[in-house]
């Protein structure tokens, strides 16, 4: 697509949106026309600067903090498979903890804007850490051998080869981190009781039943995230160009999630499971939280298994889990399918893909709570809306990871199918996708915890079923035993999904000779 045609297509899409909004064609007018959003924005113009500034401040601080920690952790995990294995539980927990369970505790423990910064940082941590580990692991083995042949140790390999190989992957992951940081800040503003920030503006605006205002807020958030996204997209593309291998290394590389030495496997797996609990217990006592709110692991054990509350709690949890789990699996598959489709579209019709990017970005920064009325009007309150919400929270990190993987396929590998006149799907199916397999699996590992979270969000916002609803209602009842239990279960399920993906990945790698 030429820039002119892309512009035309963009204008056409905007026009269609305008018509749909003006004439109330979508969801009985719950989708506002762009002009209505602009008009509302103009009326509200005095409100925005302070809110935008507050959100930018928190999001930026969280972005810097989260990414710094993520990259440092990624370095550690890349150098030490044991540390990586040990921290896996904590990592997934940080990514999988539902914000609706986390924010009340953050708000209680931390002063001022700290909860916003922490939530923004949490949104960055996992994708960027994963990308760092993957990028470092994916270094060309020939280059690694070269440095080692000159006596270079892990440090020299890291300094001269690995970090530079990781650069495009890490920069690409910052494309994910940017909207996540903005959304994280907004979510904390939304619920945290502050007076500034787009999130605070949003919670006040919800009761107005004015979609134009909500879209204005969402688009302002998108604009903030979009700037950072665009910056890192350009930087990542540049870095990719000069990182892409010219020829193909004969050895396949691993995807970063290396297994630990066999003798250590069992203790590390145990440690990985126990570490989050230890951290949890430590934080609860460290912040001196009242026992009403902050349940210790033992208190949750009591609530779930030993105490008088156990039978009822178990029954409710199991019922909820049975509602949530199948949808989470379906959502994971659907989210990855969308991610893959979008990434492939980027290869085949880059113009169209670029046209879809703003839309994808909106889906990442628009707080779902603002979209709920539109979604339930369009899709009802059943499986459709659940899958839509789940896909929307799952696909983006996976999409960016896959697209980056495809962009790094060595030139020589693609020459081969092209020299035989391969149609695009064969070029991709026979060469590009297999070559990008580590990135594909990294995408799946990113998707797994998100899928569960997505279903829980849908249950919380729209369907009123499953774990999400249980959590939501437990909050209403001040039933902290149940809140912690649901959080615990959702993390355990995420860990299980993650391990499942890892298992498939290992089997595939072994079959393809990289294991």
């Amino acid at each position: 697509m030429t820039p002119a045609r892309r512009l035309a297509a963009g204008a056409a899409a905007l026009l269609a949106w305008e018509v749909a909004g003006r004439f109330g064609l979508v969801a009985d007018g719950a989708l506002p026309a762009p002009s209505a959003i602009l008009a509302r924005f103009w009326l509200d113009r005095a409100d925005y600067p302070a809110h935008v500034l507050a959100t930018v401040e928190s999001a930026f601080a969280g972005f810097v903090l989260g990414n710094a920690v993520a990259i440092a952790a990624g370095l550690l995990f890349a150098l030490s498979p044991a540390a990586s294995r040990l921290a896996r539980g904590v990592n997934i927990a940080l990514f999988a903890l539902p914000p609706i369970a986390v924010v009340p505790v953050l708000v209680l423990c931390l002063p001022g804007t700290a909860p916003r910064i922490v939530l923004a940082a949490l949104g960055c941590y996992f994708p960027v850490m994963t990308a760092t580990v993957l990028g470092l692991a994916q270094a060309d083995p020939r280059a690694v051998d070269l440095v080692r042949a000159y006596g270079g140790g892990a440090g020299a390999v890291l300094r001269l080869v690995r970090w530079r190989s990781a650069l495009p992957v890490v920069l690409a992951s910052l494309r994910v981190a940017a909207p996540n940081a903005v959304l994280g800040a907004i979510l904390a503003e939304f619920g945290g009781g502050g007076r500034s920030g787009l999130g605070a503006y949003l919670i006040g605006s919800l009761g107005r039943a004015d979609p134009a205002r909500l879209w204005g807020i969402g688009l302002a958030a998108t604009a903030i995230a979009g700037l950072a996204y665009g910056l890192f997209a350009v930087l990542a593309a540049r870095a990719t160009g000069a990182t892409r291998a010219v020829t193909i290394a004969a050895e396949a590389t691993d995807a970063g999630e290396r297994s630990a030495p066999p003798a250590w496997r069992v203790p590390l797996a145990l440690g990985s499971l126990l570490l989050p609990f230890a951290l949890w217990a430590g934080l609860v006592s460290g912040f001196d939280l009242p026992p009403l709110i902050a349940k210790t692991p033992l208190a949750v054990l009591d609530y779930l298994a030993l105490g008088p509350t156990a039978p009822a709690a178990q029954a409710r949890l199991i019922e909820a889990l049975l509602q949530t789990l199948p949808l989470a699996l379906a959502g994971l598959v659907a989210g990855l399918a969308v991610a893959l489709t979008l990434a492939l579209l980027g290869e085949v019709l880059p113009g169209l893909a670029r046209l879809l990017m703003p839309l994808a970005l909106v889906s990442q920064t628009m707080p779902l709570v603002a979209l709920t009325p539109l979604l339930v009007l369009l899709l009802g309150r059943g499986v459709a809306v659940t899958l839509a919400i789940t896909v929307s929270v799952t696909f983006f990190p996976a999409f960016v990871a896959i697209a980056q993987g495809l962009a790094l396929v060595p030139r020589a590998a693609l020459d081969l199918p092209r020299a035989y006149g391969a149609p695009w799907w064969k070029e991709i199916g026979l060469v590009a996708l297999p070559a990008a397999l580590p990135h594909l699996f990294a995408a799946a590992r990113l998707g797994a915890p998100r899928a569960l979270l997505g279903v829980m969000i849908a249950e919380w916002l729209a369907t009123g079923r499953g774990l999400g609803n249980l959590l939501n209602q437990a909050r209403g009842r001040l039933d902290y035993g149940m809140i912690w239990s649901v959080a615990l279960i959702s993390v355990l399920v995420s860990v299980a999904l993650y391990q499942g993906v890892l298992w498939i990945e290992r089997r595939t790698a072994r079959r393809l000779g990289a294991g």
Binding site: D28, A50, A200, G207, A209, V369, L377, N469
Partner: protein
């Protein structure tokens, strides 16, 4: 002046207008208090704030507070009630009115998470099987109600009819849960027993100054909200008209001849009884009316 931190139960709106009046008039300072006002929000759980010591006192919904005391062993005391009658009600469109609990059968009702207990109580009190009502989550955006995706929502009747009128162009029909048997207070003023012991004087001072603020505010519900346009209500995303509506609508729910915040024996009994019928075991000793008594 002694510092005192007050955790509000929601974002800045007319629900807290009385406190803003007292703040702006300097009546807390006059009463010897250096009041910190903390706005609330969906993730600020008021009971948590006082339990964690972030605030000295807060406003709560009594059902959750009582449950926290009975089930979790929290050491809370209720020392006053802003709403004599809980403003929570079932709101529907005049075109498809829901006037009684019985009308809810077979309908879809949106309920905010914090109010699930109250709604289930109301249905039980009226002999309605909750399985016959499709209860879906509610996030305080009335759009699904206006568009007819749901039949009714549980919301503050002081607030949402305004939106339905301005955005939906329709009249709202509503009934209070209170009026169908769920006779509880709301925005109960709650403290921990510790604070009650150590800051009794300040709490009394707070109640006094706040009562002054509320009396002043309710004299003319249209008077104060516009004055808060560039202070307490700045940037909330809500409109001053909405706050005026809210302020007027809440007037009858707050005012009582015994003085704002008061909890009469009779009303305490009503609250205990209503909660008791859904298994929430409130007791008289959870309510401490002695501070109000000091106000006279």
């Amino acid at each position: 002046a002694t510092p005192l931190a007050f955790q509000a139960s929601w974002i800045n709106d007319a629900e807290f207008a009385g406190y803003y009046v007292a703040l702006d008039k300097g009546w807390y300072a006059e009463a010897g208090l250096d009041l910190t006002y903390l706005p609330g929000g969906p993730d600020v759980i008021p009971e948590s704030a006082i339990a964690a010591g972030k605030a000295d006192l807060t406003l709560t919904t009594p059902d959750t507070t009582v449950q926290a005391i009975t089930d979790q062993g929290a050491r809370f005391k209720i020392i006053g009630a802003q709403y004599q009658k809980n403003p929570l009600g079932v709101v529907s469109l005049a075109g498809k009115p829901i006037r009684t609990p019985q009308d809810l059968v077979g309908k879809t009702l949106a309920v905010p998470p914090v109010n699930t207990t109250s709604v289930e109580a109301m249905l039980a009190l009226n002999g309605i099987d909750k399985a016959k009502v499709a209860i879906v989550p509610y996030q305080y955006d009335p759009t699904p109600l206006i568009k007819g995706e749901i039949d009714a929502s549980v919301d503050f009747v002081t607030n949402v009819p305004y939106t339905i009128k301005t955005q939906g162009g329709q009249e709202a029909v509503s009934f209070l849960l209170y009026d169908v048997g769920f006779t509880i207070f709301n925005d109960t003023v709650v403290v921990t027993e510790d604070v009650l012991k150590t800051k009794r004087k300040e709490l009394v001072a707070f109640l006094g100054a706040s009562r002054r603020g509320w009396v002043e505010n309710l004299k003319d519900p249209a008077a104060y909200p516009p004055q808060f346009k560039d202070s307490h209500f700045k940037g909330t995303g809500r409109s001053i008209d909405n706050e005026v509506f809210y302020n007027a609508a809440q007037k009858p729910l707050i005012e009582t001849p015994k003085g704002i915040f008061s909890m009469s024996e009779e009303d305490i009994d009503k609250t205990i009884e209503a909660l008791g019928r859904v298994g929430i075991k409130a007791r008289k000793d959870m309510f401490d009316t002695s501070l109000l008594a000091e106000l006279g």
